[in-house]
Amino acid sequence: MAASQQHTPVEEEAPAAARPGERETAPGPAGGPPASTKPGTQKPGRRRRVETTLFTLPAFLFQLSWGWYPMIMAFVLSFTDAALRRPVQFTGLESYQRIWDDPLVAQSFRVTAVYTVLSITLTFFIPIFVAILLMEMSRRHIRWMMLLWFLPLSGVASTVLFRYMFNAQYGLFQWVATKVLGLPPQPFLNSADQVLFWLVVPGILFFGPGLIYMATLQSIPASYFEAAEIEGAGFWRKMWTISLPRLRPIISMLLIFAIIGSTQAFEFPTIMTGAEGSPGGAARTVVMYLFQLLQQLRYADATALGVYLFVITMTLVVIQRRFFREDPDT
């Protein structure tokens, strides 16, 4: 009874419009059965409407003040001089021109591009196959491997640990390189050519989304795999025909996240290589340079750089969506 009344839109509209003053203040006798309220059919509808508004309002305000407003203002700010102590002057595309001509910006985009490509190729696809391989193991092994592989680790702690491991004098990697493999001493993070590669390597070991793949794989009905096994399918064929098609939408979504994540890389390279992205800015990503601009109080230039990054990221995401259409079957 009550449910059908609540979904009658005509009755929902009428009282709310008739008594607009009551809407915010009196949500009505909460929890009371519809029969106890005077007009009967009208109260639940109105209360529902008020509640819906009340519940969505905080989120809406938060999104507005911390999400859309800063985003729009940043965009607006990029066309001004963003002065702090005097009235803001409109400067048109000046900041954009300055950023365009800045050789350090070009360098930071090159760094970010290499970092993104490296991190997607080295860290994005491995967990998919590891997850599929894990599912082939016995239940007991799966549980142990999940625990080991996806052990929740503190990001800062592991980052600091990796800084030690990469240390050119006494780090673990240096020891492996010189003592175990018998190579000459390696520069690791100190080499402009290698620094980005080594920054990506820890990502191979720490990869949380693998759990999402495993959860998806576990949701595939066992009968698919069983039927395939009886039909004579081996591991690879099962993977291509069952596991991967099922993972497609998830892979697509996580790939977007991974692209956005690496184009906006900041914390990890900063902690590992310093704010300058040494050596010589070889590890300075776009966001790191943007942060540097902010510290120099060049707000207009920083926002203009931010807009450039936004446009590029957006383009990548759009391209990705084109190539990686959602599977209509799942």
């Binding site: 009968s223 039927a227 096994e229 039909e231 399918a233 081996g234 025909t241 098609p245 099922r246 079957d329």
Partner: protein, 365 residues
Amino acid sequence: MPGLEVRDLVKRLGDHTAVDGLGFQVEEGEFFVLLGPSGCGKSTTLRIVCGLEQPDAGRVVVAGRDVTALPPRERNLGMVFQEYGLYPSMDVFGNMAYGLQAQGGLSEDEIRRRVEEAAERLGLTPHLASPVTDLSGGEQQRVALGRAMVKDADAYLYDEPLSNLDPKMRHRVRRDILAMHRDKGKPTVYVTHDQTEAFAMGDRVAVVARGKVQQIGPATELAENPANMFVASFIGSPPMNLLPGRIRDNGSALSVEVEDTLMELPEHWRGSLAGLAGGQVVVGLPPGSFRISAGNGLKGEIADVEALIGETVVRLRTPGGAELSVVFRDGEEGQLRVGETLSVSAVSNDARLFDPATERALTRD
């Protein structure tokens, strides 16, 4: 030796013994049904035959080859599942060709020819290029059937393939399965909990319960001469009435006393009754063996009356507290009302006797 043989299978799942020394033989070209209530071990048995489960003991021999230790893909079997087991990312053709492509050894042309032929026979030709997810349940199950049909398997297995289909579709797929079976001439093992299905399709039916084969035989054999009390209480709708009774033997005539009613028994029971302790038996009376009697038969209060097409099922509650199912097929019962008392007598030739201690059927001389 061709055919399919399962020998002394044992499968334990934790503390529970799902399959307990189960065995049977299926001839080449025979349609063999495993029938039993859910949880009786019939599906586990089938999963062991196709290799999805490993038995704790016992052997599976297909076409003279011991396949017990082989993985499913090396057993060369065709199987149809209850949930179809189709691949939603592929079209009908891809699904039907899946097994042939996975096994290799056949040319693309040959695969195409076989799939198209199977699709034609199953009425799936217009759907070959559509995604399987666009198909109805019955069509999907026919695709699964087609996938088994295109193969040259040594044996075909069905795990409750009709359970997810509506009654009309069930008949259609049933005919398709039988047609395919006749065509292939290979051993077929078909698992179901539905007696009608089992009897309509199976050359022989094995009744399975508690992980064991209780009895193997054609439908009439199972219905008329159940080997034990389980089979008697499971087969038939309604199944045989099982009532405790006491043997009376005055030397010249043999009779059994059921709830104050004496029923004469044919002489051929004498031999097996001789060894029975205390004269206690369980009497099995088929629901169709009753006639309305003048008042000297079994009496009971009518608990409910189901008027079906061509027959009426009446349930009686006897003064002793037993329930009695009686089926009338000739309309002799007239108008019956719930709450009335009815007196019936059974045709003594139809009665079956069981040893209450072993639950086994007693044999006639």
